[in-house]
C-alpha cells in the first residue's frame, strides 16, 4: 500500500498470521528463545501470559499513576490549607483553621482524579497513541487483527533479522501466512 508519503522500499519486518491464541503464544515464546528482541504480537483481545511469552515487561504506567496520585493528594490538601489558613481564614464554630478531618474528602477526590487522569493519558502516551499511521497496517488482512486473527511481527531493526532465515523460522511455527511488510 502506498500513498502515505512513506518510503515503501524500506522493509518494516516479517509478519506471521496465526489462527489461534495458542499458536501465537507458542510462536512468541519460540521467537524470544531464538533471540529476537524487536518484535510485537497483535491480537483482538488481551492475552493472558503473552507478555511473559514475548518477554515484555513495563511498569511505566503504574509508576506514573503513583506519582499522579501523590501530586493529587498534595495539591488537593495544599489548596485547602492555603485557602483556609493563609488566604481566607474564617473561624467556623471555633474549629481550628487547619481542620484535617473536614479536608479529607476533597483531598481524597483530588487524589483519585489526578491518578485516573494519569492512568488514562499515561496509557495513551506510553503506547504512542494517537498514531494514525503505522507500517504494520500495511500487512495484508491486518484488519482481522482486531477481529479474529493473531499476528506476530519480527521487525527489520532486530539485530538477528535476516529476510530469508527469519522467514524460514516463522514458517516453522505453524502460521497461516508469512508476509514481508514495507513502509
Amino acid at each position: 500500500m502506498s500513498g502515505y508519503g512513506h518510503d515503501d522500499d524500506k522493509p518494516y519486518g516479517l509478519v506471521a498470521e496465526f489462527d489461534s491464541v495458542e499458536d501465537l503464544t507458542h510462536a512468541a515464546e519460540a521467537a524470544r528463545k531464538a533471540g529476537f528482541k524487536k518484535m510485537d504480537a497483535y491480537s483482538p483481545f488481551p492475552i493472558h501470559g503473552l507478555s511473559e511469552a514475548i518477554g515484555f515487561r513495563d511498569v511505566k504506567v503504574p509508576f506514573m499513576v503513583f506519582c499522579g496520585g501523590l501530586f493529587g493528594a498534595l495539591a488537593g490538601y495544599s489548596l485547602q490549607y492555603y485557602v483556609h489558613v493563609f488566604d481566607y481564614p474564617l473561624n467556623v464554630g471555633g474549629k481550628p483553621l487547619n481542620s484535617i478531618p473536614a479536608m479529607v474528602p476533597i483531598t481524597f477526590e483530588s487524589t483519585i482524579l489526578c491518578s485516573a487522569l494519569t492512568a488514562f493519558f499515561g496509557m495513551l502516551a506510553t503506547n504512542g497513541l494517537p498514531k494514525p499511521y503505522h507500517p504494520i497496517f500495511n500487512t495484508p488482512r491486518f484488519e482481522r487483527a482486531s477481529q479474529d486473527r493473531f499476528f506476530l511481527a519480527i521487525e527489520a531493526t532486530d539485530p538477528n533479522y535476516d529476510p530469508v532465515r527469519t522467514r524460514q523460522f516463522l514458517l516453522e511455527l505453524n502460521p497461516l501466512n508469512v508476509e514481508e511488510v514495507r513502509g
Partner: protein, 472 residues
C-alpha cells in the same frame, strides 16, 4: 419476546465464533436497518423529553427558581430528590465495571459497557440539578470552583456541599475516562469491519490508531486495573458524600449516622434496577440473548434483592434510632411519616422497596422477564420515593412548629423531572445507535476463556462442541 426463558449455565450461549460475536454487536453500529420501531419510538420519546427539559431550563433561568414549589422551610425539594435519584442510578455502572472487575466476575463483560453508559448519562442528568437550583448557574461558578478571582473569595472547603462538587465532578470525569478507554479497542474493531468509507473515517478517529499490539494491551490492562481500583473507593465515596449533604446537617430525619452505607446500598439497588429495565427489552429487540443471558438477569436480580434488603434494614434502623434517640422532634417526624399528610409516600416506599423486591427470592419469578422488569421498575419508583420521603418531607417539619409548611411540586418541577428522563433516554438510544453497547473485546476474551476452559463458570457440552467446530 419470550416471557420465560430457562436458566443456562454458560455466559455465552449458542454456537459462537469471534467473528459471530463481533457481528452480533457491531451490526447495531454498522447496519442502521437493525434499528426498527422500538428504537425510533424511544428515541423520539427521548427527543420530546429533551425538548421539555430545554423549555423547563429556559423558563427557570428567565424567571428564577420561584417557578418551582420550593418554599421555606422546604428549600430542597424536587431538585435535590432528582439529583440523588439520578446519581444513585449511575452507581450500578461503576459497580459493574470496577468492583466486579476486581472480584474477577467474568459475567460483567457483557453488561459493563451498557451500564457505564448509563452511569455517564445519569450523572449528566444529576449534575444539572445542583447547578440549576442555584438559580443563576453562571454566578455559581465562583462559589463552586476554586479559582483565584477578583472578589478574593474562596469556596468553603469544610462544607459537605463542596465535597459534593468535587465528588460528583471527579466521578463524572473518571467514569468518562474509564468508559472511553474501554471503547478504544472496540472502535478499532469497528473501524476494521466498516465497509462504508465515511463510517470508517468516523470510527478511525476515536480509535486513535489502536493496533492491538501486545504492548498496547499490556499497558491497557495495567491502566484498566488501576482505574478499576481507583473507581471502587470513588464510587463508595460519592454516595457517602452525597449522604453527608444530609447527615452532617442538623435537620432531624437527616442527621443520621446510618445514611452513608444505606445511601450506597440504595444507589446500587436503584442502579441494578435501571440496568434490568433497559437490558431486558434491548436484548430482545437486538437479538443479544446469547450474550446477556438468563444467567446475567438472574444474578442482577439477586444483587437487586440483596441490596434491597440492606436498604430495608436502613429503614428499620431509622425507625429504631428515632425511638431510641428519644428526641421529641425526631419522634414527631417519624409519626408524621407514618400518619402525616405524606404518609402515602412512606407506605408506598415500604411497598416498593421493602415488599415487592421479595418476589426475587423465588427462582421461577427470576426467570420470568415480565416479573423481573416490573419489579425493577417498581424499585426505581421506590427509590425516588425514598429520596422524596427523606428530603422534602423531613423539611416540612421544623423545629419551630409555626413555620411548618406543606410542599406542593409545580408543573415546572415535573417538567424538569420528566425532561431529564427524556434526556436520559435520548442519550441512551443515541448510544445504542452509534456505539457498541457490549464490550466486544472483553466478550471475545471471555469466549476464549470458555473455549480454553479457564472461565469461572463451568462450560457445558455446548461450547466444547463449538470449539471442535472452530478447530475443524
Amino acid at each position: 419476546m419470550a416471557v420465560k426463558e430457562p436458566l443456562n449455565d454458560v455466559l455465552i450461549t449458542g454456537r459462537q465464533s469471534y467473528a459471530a460475536i463481533d457481528d452480533s454487536i457491531g451490526r447495531l453500529v454498522l447496519q442502521p436497518s437493525v434499528h426498527k420501531k422500538p428504537w425510533w419510538t424511544l428515541f423520539l420519546f427521548g427527543l420530546m423529553g429533551t425538548g421539555m427539559l430545554v423549555i423547563s431550563i429556559g423558563w427557570l433561568l428567565f424567571q428564577g427558581i420561584g417557578i418551582w414549589g420550593n418554599n421555606q422551610p422546604v428549600a430542597w425539594a424536587f431538585d435535590i430528590v432528582n439529583f440523588v435519584w439520578w446519581i444513585g442510578i449511575g452507581h450500578a455502572g461503576t459497580l459493574i465495571s470496577a468492583i466486579l472487575l476486581l472480584l474477577k466476575q467474568q459475567w460483567r463483560n457483557s453488561i459493563n459497557r451498557f451500564a457505564e453508559a448509563m452511569t455517564i448519562f445519569a450523572v449528566m442528568c444529576a449534575a444539572m440539578y445542583p447547578l440549576l437550583h442555584t438559580g443563576r448557574p453562571w454566578v455559581a461558578i465562583y462559589w463552586l470552583f476554586p479559582y483565584p478571582n477578583i472578589l478574593a473569595m474562596w469556596p468553603q472547603f469544610r462544607s459537605p456541599l463542596m465535597w459534593d462538587v468535587f465528588a460528583v465532578s471527579t466521578y463524572f470525569t473518571v467514569s468518562l475516562l474509564f468508559w472511553f478507554m474501554g471503547l478504544i479497542p472496540d472502535f478499532a474493531t469497528l473501524r476494521d469491519k466498516a465497509k462504508n468509507k465515511y463510517a470508517k473515517i468516523a470510527l478511525a478517529i476515536p480509535a486513535l490508531g489502536w493496533r492491538g499490539s501486545n504492548q498496547h494491551w499490556h499497558r491497557y490492562e495495567q491502566a484498566n486495573l488501576l482505574l478499576a481500583g481507583l473507581s471502587t473507593p470513588l464510587v463508595l465515596s460519592v454516595h457517602t458524600i452525597v449522604s453527608f449533604d444530609f447527615a452532617v446537617s442538623q435537620v432531624y430525619g437527616w442527621n443520621v449516622t446510618v445514611f452513608p452505607p444505606y445511601f450506597v446500598a440504595g444507589a446500587v439497588f436503584a442502579g441494578f434496577a435501571m440496568v434490568l429495565n433497559l437490558a431486558i427489552p434491548i436484548r430482545a429487540w437486538y437479538n443479544l440473548k446469547h450474550l446477556i443471558t438468563m444467567r446475567h438477569i438472574d444474578w442482577m436480580a439477586k444483587i437487586m434483592l440483596a441490596t434491597g434488603l440492606i436498604v430495608f434494614y436502613g429503614y428499620l434502623l431509622e425507625v429504631f434510632f428515632a425511638w431510641y434517640g428519644a428526641n421529641p422532634f425526631e419522634m414527631k417526624l417519624l409519626m408524621d411519616r407514618f400518619k402525616g399528610p405524606y404518609a402515602w409516600s412512606y407506605w408506598a416506599l415500604i411497598f416498593c422497596n421493602g415488599i415487592v423486591p421479595q418476589l426475587m427470592w423465588v427462582p421461577k419469578l427470576r426467570q420470568n422477564l415480565v416479573v423481573v422488569w416490573i419489579v425493577a421498575f417498581v424499585v426505581n419508583v421506590g427509590m425516588w420515593l425514598e429520596r422524596f420521603v427523606i428530603i422534602p418531607v423531613s423539611l416540612t417539619n421544623n423545629y419551630l412548629p409555626s413555620s411548618n409548611k406543606m410542599y406542593y411540586p409545580t408543573f415546572w418541577d415535573f417538567g424538569m423531572f420528566f425532561g431529564t428522563i427524556g434526556f436520559f433516554f435520548f442519550m441512551m438510544f443515541l448510544f445504542v445507535r452509534f456505539l457498541p453497547i457490549i464490550n466486544m473485546f472483553e466478550v471475545k476474551d471471555l469466549w476464549h476463556r470458555i473455549l480454553e476452559g479457564t472461565s469461572k463458570v463451568e462450560p457445558s457440552s455446548e461450547p466444547t462442541k463449538a470449539r471442535e467446530e472452530v478447530a475443524a
